[in-house]
Amino acid sequence: MLAFLFGLSILLTAVLVIRPSQTSKALAFTSLFVLPLTVSYMGVETHIENSKQTTFCTSCHVMGKHGRSLLVDDTTILAASHYQGGRIPRDRACFTCHTTYTMYGDMQAKLRGVKHVLVNYFGKVPDKLKLYEPYHNRECLHCHQGARRYLKGETHTAEPDRMEKMRLNQLSCVSKDCHDTVHLANEVDSLPLWKPEGVK
């Protein structure tokens, strides 16, 4: 649909470039105002959808190691186990865990993405990549809250108030001795990778 509208818009605009004097004002208004702005807006939506793909995030050199960490043949690594176990959509792996599940979370993630690209081209990429703020349990509990395995987890129920602390983000899911091996991106080059068939 979008490709068709782009084609139509390009065709009508080309007619106006060739013969501007032989076109009615109504057609000119449609060709030079309504259609271009409509298809342009639809194109922005397509780009935003594209930006949710795992391949999009890992297409930048700086994210290469994080991308490869999804395929490390070690399911004790949090990101790898989620990716390989199909707990998150493989084609949207980064976006699923790194979007803040709050109002404007998507928009905030996109604005940060814009900043990342600008830094990549015009700034200095930090040697060690880190999150803007500590990882919030909300992003885990968005899926795990209420899940049987989470509720019955031995360590989750070790203390009576532990679940409540996790719910309130007072005890981080990725704290030491819990799920603290998240990506292991710095060591990914020396680790064996899982090579499944049919996975991008």
Binding site: I10, L16, V44, V117
Partner: protein
């Protein structure tokens, strides 16, 4: 071709360029693609649309105010013929 048509042609060319850039970047899933889409394609398109709108609005407002050459000549002639009082 009058000045209005020339401006419409320029506007159409800008929009065409913008649309082509945008169409090309749509199939490229890379962060740079969005920057080219918005920064180059969007800018060309916006310039074209603004030029087109200014042509439309300029044309609409200038016609009533712009003097018709024939009428001006006629008025000048009649003023010349009018006897001084």
């Amino acid at each position: 071709m009058n000045a209005e048509h020339k401006r419409i042609r320029i506007a159409a060319a800008l929009i065409l360029g913008g649309l082509l850039v945008e169409r090309l970047t749509l199939g490229w899933a890379h962060p740079t693609a969005f920057f080219v889409y918005a920064g180059v394609g969007g800018l060309l398109l916006l310039l074209g649309v603004m030029l087109f709108l200014s042509t439309l609005l300029g044309g609409a407002t200038s016609h009533p105010a712009s003097p018709d050459p024939a009428a001006t000549t006629q008025r000048a002639n009649s003023a010349d013929e009018k006897p001084a009082s």
